[in-house]
């Protein structure tokens, strides 16, 4: 439109100046950054760093972090074991059933977590569809146990995992499947030796996404699993409860979670978050 060499200024040239139009974009962009960064800064600024260590050793903190780490790791492992084959089958299916299954699996993603917790109670609660027979036959009660915490986390994070991994599996050229099949590989061997390695980066990011979702899980957990220190009180629940009588312990716990989250984000840098 305009030559790079300096020429006689034309009317309107100033308005089209690239620097100015970039400034127009910088304002909303900067506001967006502020909206995200300010609360995090607030967390750091309002923390009483002098007593941070003692706050971190408050009795509520360590059991909550330990429970969160254990349950989220089990959740991610379950997502991998159950979700990867599911994602693989979905990525290679085109029928109407697959479309419906995909839609159903997406529901927990858009469902308010508290509603998810109620749904879990209706299924696995002591009077639930699955829970009642379990309770009557074996005296097995799922709510108020760490198992319930894991169930709640799997419910909310498995869809994230499957959606992410299915995308990665879909990107694996289906002709590799065909070649592997002509070489004598069974579907299981194709899955293990071809699809898994080729989709590994996608699986890693899916696992990270699922883990992050599980770590932050609040609504479904508190509704379905309850809140008891040591057995079902995960870190987010502990933060919420501690906020009412020991805000500094809540802040310390929040900072600890923030640190763990940053650590994971750092590990994913260059792979998932470019």
């Amino acid at each position: 439109m305009t030559a790079p060499a300096p020429t006689v200024a034309t009317p309107g040239a100033a308005r089209r100046h690239p620097g100015r139009s970039r400034a127009v974009l910088l304002v909303p962009a900067g506001l967006g950054v502020a909206l995200v960064v300010l609360p995090l800064l607030g967390l750091l600024l309002r923390t009483d760093w002098g007593s941070f260590a003692s706050n971190l050793s408050a009795p509520v903190v360590w059991p909550a972090i330990r429970l969160s780490l254990v349950t989220t790791l089990v959740t991610v492992a379950l997502c991998f074991v159950l979700g990867t084959p599911l994602a693989w089958l979905l990525s290679r299916a085109d029928g109407r059933a697959a479309t419906w299954l995909r839609a159903v699996l997406t529901v927990p993603v858009v469902l308010p977590p508290v509603v998810g917790g109620v749904a879990l109670l209706m299924a696995y609660g002591r009077r639930g569809v699955v829970g009642a027979p379990l309770f009557e036959a074996f005296g097995l009660r799922l709510p108020f146990t760490p198992t319930a915490v894991v169930l709640a986390q799997v419910f909310v994070s498995l869809p994230f995992f499957v959606l992410a991994v299915e995308g990665a599996m879909r990107a694996v050229d289906a002709r590799y499947d065909a070649v592997a099949a002509t070489l004598g590989a069974t579907p299981l061997r194709i899955f293990v030796r071809v699809a898994l390695p080729l989709a590994a980066p996608g699986i890693a990011s899916g696992a990270a996404l699922a883990w992050a979702r599980a770590l932050g899980e609040f609504g479904a957990t508190i509704t379905f699993a309850g809140n008891f220190a040591g057995s079902t009180q995960t870190a987010p629940l502990a933060v919420y409860v501690a906020l009412q009588n020991d805000p500094q312990a809540a802040l310390a716990l929040s900072i600890a979670m923030l640190a763990v989250s940053l650590l994971v984000l750092g590990m994913l840098r260059g792979r998932w978050i470019r």
């Binding site: 993603v109 977590p113 009077r127 009660r141 809140n227 008891f228």
Partner: protein, 262 residues
């Protein structure tokens, strides 16, 4: 739209819902435009009150607005502790009604200002069981049965403190499986039959209607919770609403909701 194109959208929606589900306090705004805005005062009275007072205070606010056209009573309900913290962080409030005296310590020392204080109600602790009472709970000692699942409010909220006090006084170690964040969550576990018993306030049992059955605790073992009302200014409508709540009309409304007279 392809599933791939949909994915980021879904993730964004999910993130929004995750955040939304964590809001702690519910705000009921009974704002009603007067028939004739020039007919009376045009003040707004802001009330922060314990969640258990939702039903009676909402009714009283509507009555006050009817009697004083042009005046708006804004109500915000939540955990007493959370509300006290919000006030100390500078949240605007003309009146504050707390469940128990303890949260008052979180208010700034000079909060009372030109206002005043009254006790508007009392409450007692009661055992709530599912309507069919599957654990056959008859008194407080039964809560120690390890076959029964008992849920209590978290120790950080008034109903949790009161439950702990009652159990300590009675010398009962209950088989507690969960400390729920508020009284509603506690009752929900009982209503759904996941828990055999909960310790809540009598007013909560009344509010739950037929969804739970109440098992009374003798006064000797029980603790009483008082409900102080604080107002922070001498504005006529603020004082007027305080008088209504603390007066006979207020007491009647509170008693109908399962509270005891102060």
């Amino acid at each position: 739209m392809t599933p791939a194109a949909l994915r980021p959208l879904l993730l964004a929606a999910a993130a929004a819902l995750t955040l939304g589900a964590c809001s702690a306090a519910t705000t009921a705004d009974t704002t009603q435009a007067g028939d004739d805005p020039t007919a009376g005062g045009s003040g707004t009275v802001t009330v922060l009150a314990a969640a258990s007072l939702t039903a009676p205070l909402t009714a009283l606010a509507e009555q006050y607005e009817r009697d004083h056209p042009g005046v708006t009573v804004r109500l915000s309900f939540g955990s007493s502790t959370t509300l006290a913290q919000q006030i100390s962080e500078g949240a605007p409030a003309d009146l504050y009604a707390s469940a128990g005296e303890a949260p008052l310590s979180l208010l700034p020392p000079d909060a009372a200002g030109d206002g005043g204080r009254a006790t508007i109600a009392r409450n007692t602790v009661e055992i709530a069981t599912p309507p069919d009472n599957p654990g056959a709970v008859a008194d407080l000692r039964d809560l120690g049965d390890p076959d029964l699942d008992v849920v209590l409010c978290a120790a950080t909220v008034p109903c949790g403190k009161a439950a702990d006090d009652v159990l300590r006084t009675a010398g009962v170690t209950a088989h507690v499986v969960s400390r729920e964040v508020d009284v509603k969550a506690t009752l929900t576990k009982v209503v759904l039959g996941e828990a055999d018993a909960a310790l809540v306030y009598h007013s909560d049992v009344v509010a739950a209607g037929g969804d739970v059955r109440g098992v009374e605790i003798p006064a000797a073992d029980n603790v009483f919770l008082t409900y102080p009302l604080l107002w922070f200014s001498d504005d006529p409508d603020v004082v007027g609403f305080a008088d209504l709540v603390a007066g006979p009309t207020g007491t009647a409304a509170l008693e109908a909701a399962g509270f005891l007279a102060p």
